[in-house]
Structures are given as structure tokens and as C-alpha cells.
């Protein structure tokens, strides 16, 4: 899966998951997946053209300051031979307090392997460190990579140094990079540029690169382009093609191709109007900060415009909610567990104000939600339903 798209899917998932604006469950980790099913015509350098069918599952986990992507590709050629590729990559970003403002550090690890028709296999394991400088609409990075790669023989050392720049204007991002790579006794330099643009349901990616100063990795100019058209929340079409160079690190052979296919995405996570379930809310009856009382609210919208409202409250006999979606009429929730109370209410899309009352005490904003002074001497929770 293309990483920019992966990141975007994660962001999209977060839109559905973030509700206070748009609340998100406190652990703040999301997992998204895609499966690309496609057909291609491909001609690897030195080989005859061939048709192929491909299946590419990918899984991305994004947590606090870290992300992990795993993907694989199964290719079946006209000849009946098959190719398997797999990659796991992880990135860890430095917390914002570690470096000066506008600077972020990134450490990434990548490991993968591929196998073709039981007689050619490769693997690699590399680590990369990057230092990012980011400003409004533009940025730059410098980085270095080290690791090992093997073509079935003794592993060879990998070393890459690189610099890059990018500029973003509206929906268009343009990037350029220069790298110098050493893989065993092979050395080469790549000068490349990419462009990413999106408009409505369309996303366009294109790249143009030149390999120069090469010893054992070929020369030439390469270019690829692809577009994705989103059909629905879980489906998209893609078309891509071009020519790419040999990659001595991962073992891929230079080739040219044209592909088309369907991308299937996992369902977006359901929103939960929770920010920090561990923050204590006010005591119910007394109306002040008592010890041992914790309430938190979840809102799970349904496609039909209704939403399941769940309040977790310790030591409660009755739990009520009121908000602009109830015309501020208290609604008593039904107890469904030891500390769980819930009801199904009509909550239209939009930003809503809501309060919770325990055992007839004060109206409070549940813990972990965005909250604001309510102008009536208390606080009100803010919930946005996508």
C-alpha cells in the first residue's frame, strides 16, 4: 500500500473516531487495513512481457508517536509461476519536547523478503534515521540508512545517505530528493521528484527519477504515475503504470508495467466520545470532586441517525443524560452492566452539548470530553458526531 494513502486512511479513520471533536478512545491507537486486487501487464528487464494477477493485503497500526505497516504481495504470472513479497516497516517519531520547535526526529526500521518461483529469494533489514525540519507548507529532511541485504548468498552491507525537500500548496505536494546508495560493491545515486495531488474522490501520484553515477545498478530515467478513485467508504479503484529501476536493497528488478484494480478497505472505526477515561469527574450527589467516582461517555452513531449512548459510572443508582439532542430533557439510561448505562437516542450529525447526572446530583461534563463553561455556573461536554 502506498504510504501516503495509508496515512490518509488512518487520518480518515481518526475523523470517524475523534469526537470531542470527535472523541477518540484513550489508548489513541488505530489499525486500518486494505486489500488491493489487480491485474497487470509487466515486463521485467531481460524477461518477456507477461500478464499477472496480484493480491496485496496491507495493515497499518498507528499509535502514539509510532506507526507500523505490514504488507504483502502475491503475484501470479501467465506462466503459472508466482512471486511473494513481504515488508514490515515501523517508524518512531521523537516527542515534540525533545528537539527545538520545527524539528522532529524519525527512526524507522524496515524488513522484508521476496521469493520468485522457488529459485530466487531476497531479504533485507535496514534502519533509517531522519531529521525533519518542518515549516508551514514546506519542509526538508536529511537521513541515513544502514543494514543488510541478501540475494541468497552472503548478506551485503547497505548504506544510504539522502536529503529531501517538499512543498505543499492546497491539495498539491511536490517533493524532491537525492540519495547515494552503497550495497556491497554496488553504488549508485538517485535524483527524484514526486507529486501528489487530490481533488474530490481523485488522488494522483507521479514520480520522475534519474539514476546517475551508477556502478552495477544501471542508469536511466524512470517515471511512474497512478491515480485512485474512491468509490465509497470501503472501496476505491486504482490505475497505475510506468517504469521503475532495479532496487539492490530490496532485490526488485527493473521493469515497466500497467496495472488496474480494486482497493478494499476495512471499516472505519466507530467514534467513541471518550478522551481520558481515567480523569475523575465530579462527585454525583455532592457535586464536588469526590474520590472514587468516574463517569465517561461514549457515543456510537448508527447509520440510521440514531446513536448508542453509553455512560460508565461507578457507584451509581441512576444515570441521566441531557443535551441539545434531547431538547435538554433528562433521559434516564438503562443499566446494562455493573458500571455501564446506556440508551439509543436520535443524535444528528453535528456538534452537540451534553451533560450527565448521577443519582440526581449536578449536571456534569463526563471525564475526558472536550468541555466548556456552560454560562450557568457549570461545565458542558462537547460531542461532535460525524
Amino acid at each position: 500500500m502506498r504510504p501516503a494513502a495509508a496515512a490518509r486512511h488512518v487520518r480518515t479513520a481518526f475523523l470517524a473516531a475523534a469526537t470531542s471533536l470527535v472523541g477518540v478512545r484513550a489508548p489513541a491507537a488505530q489499525t486500518t487495513g486494505t486489500i488491493d486486487v489487480g491485474v497487470s501487464t509487466v515486463r521485467y528487464d531481460g524477461f518477456r512481457p507477461s500478464g499477472a494477477g496480484s493480491l496485496t493485503p496491507a495493515l497499518t497500526w498507528a499509535g502514539t508517536g509510532a506507526a507500523v505497516t505490514a504488507r504483502g504481495t502475491y503475484l501470479r504470472f501467465e506462466s503459472g509461476r508466482r512471486s511473494l513479497q513481504g515488508l514490515v516497516a515501523a517508524s518512531l517519531f521523537t516527542p515534540p519536547s525533545l528537539l527545538p520547535q520545527r524539528w522532529r526526529g524519525e527512526l524507522s526500521l524496515s524488513g522484508g523478503g521476496s521469493n520468485y518461483a522457488d529459485f530466487a529469494s531476497f531479504w533485507h533489514a535496514t534502519g533509517e534515521a531522519r531529521l525533519h525540519f518542518v515549516a508551514a507548507g514546506r519542509g526538508a529532511w536529511i537521513g541515513g540508512t544502514g543494514g543488510r541485504t541478501s540475494y541468497g548468498a552472503a548478506p551485503r552491507p547497505v548504506a544510504v545517505v539522502g536529503v529531501g525537500l517538499w512543498v505543499r500548496r492546497a491539495q498539491v505536494t511536490v517533493a524532491a530528493s537525492a540519495t547515494r546508495s552503497f550495497v556491497g560493491d554496488t553504488a549508485y545515486s538517485d535524483l527524484g521528484s514526486t507529486i501528489h495531488a487530490s481533488r474530490g474522490r481523485f488522488e494522483l501520484d507521479a514520480s520522475l527519477a534519474a539514476r546517475v553515477s551508477s556502478r552495477g545498478a544501471g542508469h536511466g530515467v524512470h517515471g511512474e504515475a497512478g491515480t485512485t478513485f474512491t468509490l465509497g467508504e470501503r472501496t476505491a479503484l486504482f490505475v497505475s503504470g510506468g517504469r521503475y529501476p532495479t532496487d539492490p536493497v530490496s532485490g526488485s528488478v527493473a521493469g515497466r508495467y500497467a496495472s488496474a484494480g480494486l482497493r478494499l478497505r476495512t471499516a472505519l472505526p466507530r467514534p467513541h466520545a471518550i478522551r481520558d477515561p481515567h480523569l475523575p469527574s465530579r462527585s454525583p450527589a455532592a457535586g464536588d470532586g469526590g474520590v472514587g467516582y468516574t463517569t465517561r461517555l461514549e457515543v456510537d452513531p448508527n447509520p440510521d441517525g440514531s446513536a448508542r449512548v453509553v455512560v460508565h459510572a461507578l457507584v451509581a443508582t441512576t444515570v441521566e443524560v441531557a443535551g441539545d439532542f434531547t431538547d435538554w430533557q433528562p433521559v434516564t439510561l438503562r443499566r446494562t452492566g455493573e458500571d455501564k448505562w446506556e440508551s439509543v437516542l436520535h443524535i444528528p450529525s453535528g456538534v452537540h452539548r451534553v451533560n450527565v447526572r448521577i443519582d440526581g446530583g449536578r449536571w456534569t461534563a463526563p471525564a475526558g470530553m472536550a468541555r466548556a463553561e456552560d454560562e450557568f455556573g457549570g461545565e458542558v461536554g462537547i460531542v461532535a458526531v460525524p
Binding site: 504510504p3 496480484s54 507548507g137 449536571w363
Partner: protein, 210 residues
């Protein structure tokens, strides 16, 4: 013929006008929860907002919220009046084409401390609906981010970021604050980090590349 028409049409027209006015002044039954002294004042504010073509539902809801919380009539009327003023200011800043939802979100942002100038700039830089950017702005301020920092960050992102990006940005700020970063620094860092590719190791793959 003409006289007969006048005799028929004028009373009919008058009746229609009276009926229309009565309908316009018809009390929203939900407001009957307000006490007798508070209701007329709130109704007057609602009618005034209606004449000004402002959304009235948020005003009714604010009054109902006060009633549910057993606030005094004066406090309820003051809260509804402030909201009406904020809605008016939001429309000034966002323009007459702003949707009711945008105006409500804009009023919340103004109430949180954002300026009309910020709202106007948001409208200028972003063609899409502003509900999410405005809600993010208000939410940041509610989280302790200084108004200036929150406004600068949202404005810098609003031009290019989609709603999903803004929500992820908000989430990143929340995450960094939870990790101990000062709210303003967390906001600035998250705004800039929005553009850093998440996963360096997986950058090169294009869908369909065999």
C-alpha cells in the same frame, strides 16, 4: 366588480397578515418550560434573531439548557442574548452564505475567545464547510491552548488540510499534551508535523506495481 374585490380581498389579506404574525409569534411549546417572567424575554430574542435571519434553534436550546440546570431567569436570558450576539458576529465574519451549523460552530469559537478576524480568514482560505475547523479551534482553546496559537495553527492548516487531517491534528495535540508538552508547543508541533510522512520505510510502494 372592483369594489366587490376590495371588500373581499382586503379583509382576507388582513386576516392572512394577522394569522402570519400570530404564527410567527407562536410560542415554541418547548419554551413553556421557562417561567412566565423569563419566557417573554427569550421569545423576544428568538424573534429578533429570526428577523435577522439567524438560526433560532441554538437559542432555544440554550434556554432549555438553562432551564434544565435550574438557572435563574436573568442568567438564562443573558446566556441566550450572548449567543445571539455571537451568532450575529459569526455571520458578519463568515458571510451571509454561512450555514446554521457553521454559524453555531463560529459562535462557539468566538465564545471560546477566537476573533472575528480569525473566522473571516478561515472563510477566505478555505472553500469547504468550516464546521470542523471552527470546532477544532474552539476545542483547542478549551484544552488550554492560547487563542493566538490555536488560531495560527488552524489557519495554517485550513488552506490545505481536509477535515480528516484537522481532526488528526487535533488528536496529535491532545496526545502531545497528554505526554506533557505545553499546549501551545504541542499545537505548533502538531501543525508542522502534519506534513511529515508517517512511515519512512513504506514510502516507495505504488498501488499496482508488480
Amino acid at each position: 366588480m372592483t369594489r366587490a374585490f376590495i371588500h373581499t380581498a382586503v379583509p382576507l389579506l388582513a386576516a392572512m397578515l394577522v394569522a402570519g404574525r400570530a404564527a410567527a409569534q407562536q410560542i415554541d411549546p418547548r419554551l413553556e418550560r421557562l417561567d412566565a417572567a423569563t419566557r417573554p424575554a427569550v421569545l423576544a430574542l428568538v424573534d429578533s434573531a429570526r428577523r435577522d435571519l439567524l438560526p433560532t434553534e441554538p437559542l432555544v436550546q440554550r434556554a432549555l439548557e438553562g432551564a434544565t440546570k435550574r438557572a435563574s431567569g436573568d442568567v438564562i436570558v443573558a446566556a441566550v442574548r450572548r449567543l445571539a450576539v455571537d451568532l450575529g458576529h459569526a455571520r458578519q465574519a463568515l458571510g451571509s452564505t454561512a450555514s446554521p451549523a457553521e454559524l453555531s460552530a463560529g459562535a462557539a469559537a468566538l465564545h471560546a475567545g477566537a476573533s472575528q478576524t480569525t473566522l473571516a480568514e478561515l472563510r477566505h482560505v478555505r472553500g469547504e464547510p468550516l464546521i470542523v475547523p471552527l470546532a477544532v479551534l474552539a476545542d483547542l482553546v478549551a484544552s488550554g491552548v492560547p487563542v493566538d496559537s490555536a488560531a495560527a495553527a488552524v489557519l495554517s492548516l485550513a488552506r490545505r488540510a481536509r477535515d480528516a487531517d484537522l481532526v488528526e491534528f487535533r488528536r496529535a495535540v491532545e496526545r502531545d499534551i497528554a505526554l506533557g508538552a505545553p499546549p501551545a508547543a504541542a499545537t505548533a508541533a502538531a501543525a508542522t508535523a502534519q506534513s511529515v510522512d508517517v512511515n519512512a520505510g513504506a514510502r516507495q510502494q505504488r498501488p499496482g506495481r508488480p
